[in-house]
Amino acid sequence: MTVITDAAENVAGAGVSGSRRVRRLTGRDKIVLGLMVGIPTLLHVALVWVPTLVSVLLSFSSWDGIGGLATIKFVGVQNYVTMFTVSPTFWPAVQHNVIWLVFFVLLPTPFGVFLAYQLDKSIRFTRFYQTAIFLPVVISAAVTGFIWQTIYDPDNGLVNSILGTNKPGVAYIEWLGDSHLNLWAVLIAASWKQAAYIMILYLAGLKGADPSLREAAALDGASEWQTFTRVTFPALKPINIIILVVTIIESLRAFDLVYVVAGSNGTKPGLELLSILIANNILGESSLVGYGSALAVILLVISLVPILSYVFQTFRKEQQS
């Protein structure tokens, strides 16, 4: 996933002359334009936004998915009540999602920003550093899971081999099996990707920033910490917002790595996440469509906070112009 900043400046000039041009369109041009925008929009709306709305509707219903659409029953907020009060997995999942987010905000994200800030100085070998650190972003989260399995494996993994904790009965740490440890172990693997991803995004932001600001601050005798916190960081507000949105969205989307690491059926105590619960509801034996949709609605509501604030902040300027 990637996010985009506003290009408000680029719009300048597109406005006034554009409206004149519209009138010069022939009938055939209008049909062509209609198809050009209509087909992709239809597909996007049909496959992304219609299911989103249907999800909300289905969350108030009960359906086992086996009988036809006629067997869907309206049950009010029953699914939500079950989720909040009865389900043994919902609250742990919420808790793990929150831990994931807080961890990402506190560690890999600032570290990625820090790396970007260091790499932005004109230093030698910067290409090598960037390439090496960025490699984890290029491989899939699923493969990341396999690679880290070979590191966390209790008997043969790298970590236990180094620590000498691969002796059952004597000293034995099950990094991915122990429900108190596995979330943290997975978070380290996820941070390996996240920090690198943030680094490259922030580096792009820094490259776009005016270097004279930094130089002026240095000439005025500001320490490097002061230069960053008082000059560079505030000047990069758009990219800061992107980084924040990416961090939140990635925390909510976390799925592949956890699913792979959790083993054959995709669940393991200690590794419940909202995304995992929703997927298991579909992949599992008994599919509870209404309940799965209610879980999705919770995820949707949480996601809409960063998504909407991002979209409105990005497009506000364009609207004004």
């Binding site: 260091q118 490699l135 899939s140 070979t150 995004l201 792009a204 000439l219 490097e224 995820l299 998504i307």
Partner: protein, 307 residues
């Protein structure tokens, strides 16, 4: 991730353009040590996986994995490739990724052309819709989408014999297109806004239709953006795990990234094979990244900066 505090006031001033050699500053040395250490730490998981994959099972079961190898061999790669039938799954990945990338680019370019070259009232709404849709977690829509796919009939030749959108390559390709066109539309519309209007106006005066303006003037000028986005999309779609997992009933149709999870339990009995299988899966993306690094990074950052 340790030495964070050790990079203090690293040469706050940029080096003046002095003709003579710059003196070695201790702060710079500390910085290089820190960055080298970080880069090496970041490479450790790869190196460990590669090392494990190159050793024979006999060697590792006798001496343990954390030991010096007696011999290095590509045997595990060969076994993973043949036993698990990996070529079949790679082919699935190609069948999904190539059309998905091309259609996404075509669709996004069309919408981007519309919103960037004309001044309609719906433009802003369209862009917001696409951008917001692109940011949704896929799990939000999967439950109804899964049901929808089970209800949509498709002719057999389009659906791998399932007769449904579910379990078909087409279904997975379409969801990739729907999702990814959000990001690409935004990037391309920013890019197209930087193309001077005089160019299309001149064509208009010559009587060129809207389609010709799009196809013969705007599209060729967007080549750098297409190169960057195509690189990025190929890696993303190839790396997709979720859609490939959920929207296929049988493992046989899954792309390699999703298939590898179930293959692991079936065929990869030891760590050496798991590591080899995982690395084989990663090779295409690593190759694309190392070959087209500039396109990839500029694709990511096209979005993060102004077109």
């Amino acid at each position: 991730m340790t030495a964070v505090a050790e990079v203090p006031a690293t040469a706050a001033s940029r080096p003046a353009p002095a003709p003579r050699r710059k003196p070695i500053r201790p702060a710079r040395v500390v910085l290089h040590v820190f960055l080298t250490a970080t880069a090496l730490v970041w490479l450790v998981p790869f190196v460990w996986a590669v090392y494990t994959s190159l050793r024979t099972f006999a060697d590792t079961s006798q001496h343990g994995y954390f030991s010096l190898a007696t011999a290095l061999t590509f045997e595990n790669y060969q076994n993973a490739w043949e036993q698990a039938g990996l070529p079949h799954y790679f082919l699935n990945s190609v069948i999904i990724t190539v059309p998905a990338v091309l259609v996404t680019l075509l669709f996004s370019a069309s919408v981007a052309f519309f919103v960037s070259r004309f001044n309609f009232k719906v433009n802003l709404l369209l862009l917001m819709l696409f951008t917001a849709g692109n940011l949704l977690p896929p799990q939000v829509i999967i439950t109804p989408l899964f049901r929808m796919y089970l209800l949509i009939p498709l002719p057999d030749w389009l659906s791998n014999g399932s007769g449904l959108m579910y379990n078909s390559f087409l279904g997975v390709i379409l969801i990739h297109v729907a999702f990814q066109s959000g990001f690409c539309t935004f990037v391309l519309s920013n890019y197209m806004k930087t193309i001077p209007h005089e160019l299309t106006e001149a064509a208009l005066v010559d009587g060129a239709s809207v389609f010709r303006q799009f196809w013969q003037i705007i599209l060729p000028l967007c080549r750098p953006a297409f190169a960057a986005l195509a690189t990025l999309l190929t890696i993303w779609i190839y790396n997709d795990f979720f859609w490939g997992l959920v929207l296929f009933q049988t493992g046989a149709n899954r792309p390699i990234t999703s298939a590898i999870a179930s293959l692991q339990g079936q065929y990869f009995s030891n760590q050496n094979l798991i590591a080899a299988g995982a690395l084989l899966t990663a090779i295409p993306t690593l190759a694309i990244y190392l070959a087209l690094q500039r396109q990839f990074v500029s694709g990511l950052t096209l979005g993060a900066n102004k077109g």
